[in-house]
């Protein structure tokens, strides 16, 4: 069999695979449909170039296979053709880059009304903190972290008192409410990633990183750690439940604030000392 046929079949098979593949994106559940669009654009342009280049190669292989009496063309340079190809490629690249940069600009510019969520990661788990009534998160220090202060909130920061603490790896989000995820790690690199939301960012110890999205489909989603963080990396999962306004409010009511926690702990302490005195 002529090798060209096999190469052709490989290209043809690739296209068929793409058409009939059962493996493809999960449905997007956030405002980052634009990312899907840029992927689709890149896919069609890139895929087109791939198929075109390979088919041209296959054509050459058929047409110009070795023959004793044929002499190859002798033409060291073709300035005009090279110029055309350079400019065409440049234009194609600009067409791919420009929408990417536009969407990146949206990605790094967080809307003013976004709800800030502190996502704290460690080996190997997650917990979350939401601002209280003041709408602001308190500052934190890793050195403050202990049993009574699981988030390491600075005790002298007034904004921290009413922060809502969620000591669970599942968090609820309100549908159509933009959120700014503030990522914080206490030990190594992690990455809070929900495939359906498309966006992701590493949690880096020593700094706070961020990204934002707006969930727009209610439902339960799985959180994966997307940055290698040691042997437990593959087991570091969490969850997100996107709810409508009413459900979300109900859920929110049940959560504990930092001052609740402190009060509860103090009551517990007092109980203990009382018992000890008896």
């Amino acid at each position: 069999m002529h090798p060209g046929i096999i190469f052709f079949l490989v290209i043809f098979g690739s296209v068929l695979f793409h058409i009939f593949t059962p493996w493809y994106w999960t449905d997007v559940a956030s405002n980052w449909g634009g990312m899907d669009d840029t992927i689709t654009l890149t896919f069609w342009v890139g895929g087109g170039v791939f198929v075109a280049v390979c088919l041209f190669m296959v054509y050459c292989v058929f047409k110009f296979s070795y023959k004793e009496d044929r002499k190859a063309e002798y033409k060291p340079e073709d300035k005009k053709l090279e110029k055309i190809l350079t400019w065409a490629t440049t234009l194609g690249v600009i067409a791919l880059l420009a929408p990417g940069l536009v969407i990146w600009n949206q990605f790094v510019t967080v809307p003013k009304n976004a709800l800030q969520i502190d996502v704290m990661a460690w080996q190997w788990g997650w917990q979350y903190r939401l601002p209280g009534e003041d709408g602001k998160l308190g500052t934190t220090q890793i050195t403050n972290i202990n049993d009574n202060n699981p988030f390491g909130i600075n005790l002298d920061d007034p904004y921290g008192k009413d922060d809502v603490l969620i000591q669970s790896d599942v968090i609820n989000l309100e549908n159509n409410q933009p959120v700014k995820i503030l990522l914080r790690s206490v030990d190594v690199l992690h990455n809070w990633y929900v495939p359906q939301f498309r966006a992701k960012m590493d949690a880096v110890p020593g700094i706070v990183t961020y990204y934002w999205f707006e969930p727009n489909k209610t439902g339960k989603y799985e959180v994966l750690c997307a940055e290698y963080c040691g042997v437990g990396h593959y087991g570091m999962r969490g969850g997100v439940i996107v709810q409508d306004n009413q459900d979300y409010e109900n859920w929110m009511q049940k959560q504990e604030t930092f001052s609740d926690l402190v009060a509860k702990q103090e009551a517990l302490e007092a109980e203990k000392t009382k018992l000890a005195k008896k």
Binding site: K136, D157, V208
Partner: protein, 112 residues
């Protein structure tokens, strides 16, 4: 290896030029020491330090290392890669500013 013919033709420089450069290096070092002595601060300190540093480096490279007399082929090969370093420095400056911003903002100041 190296052509022996070359040896006789290599003209060496007058000793004066070396002594001059030597003296200048001492003077510039003295100046940069004075920057610290008089405790200049802020932008002035920065620009003086960098000025004297680059002057000294330039003199050493140009005259002690003979780069001033070398052909441009060599000089350019040596200097162009420095653009990569310059890019690295430039980006790391904005990186450390960003790092220190997030640290101050989220760990110390707060209020957002």
């Amino acid at each position: 290896m190296e052509e022996t013919k070359k040896q006789e033709q290599t003209t060496t420089h007058k000793i004066g030029i070396y002594l001059w450069i030597w003296g200048l290096l001492f003077v510039l070092s003295f100046f940069s020491y004075m920057v610290d002595w008089y405790q200049f601060q802020g932008l002035l300190r920065w620009s003086l330090i960098l000025l004297f540093m680059f002057l000294k480096a330039g003199l050493i490279m140009a005259f002690f290392m003979h780069l001033f007399w070398e052909r441009y082929a060599l000089v350019n090969v040596l200097l162009w890669p420095m653009t990569a370093i310059a890019c690295f420095i430039f980006l790391m400056v904005s990186e450390f500013k960003y790092t220190v911003f997030t640290r101050l903002f989220y760990f110390v100041v707060g209020g957002a």
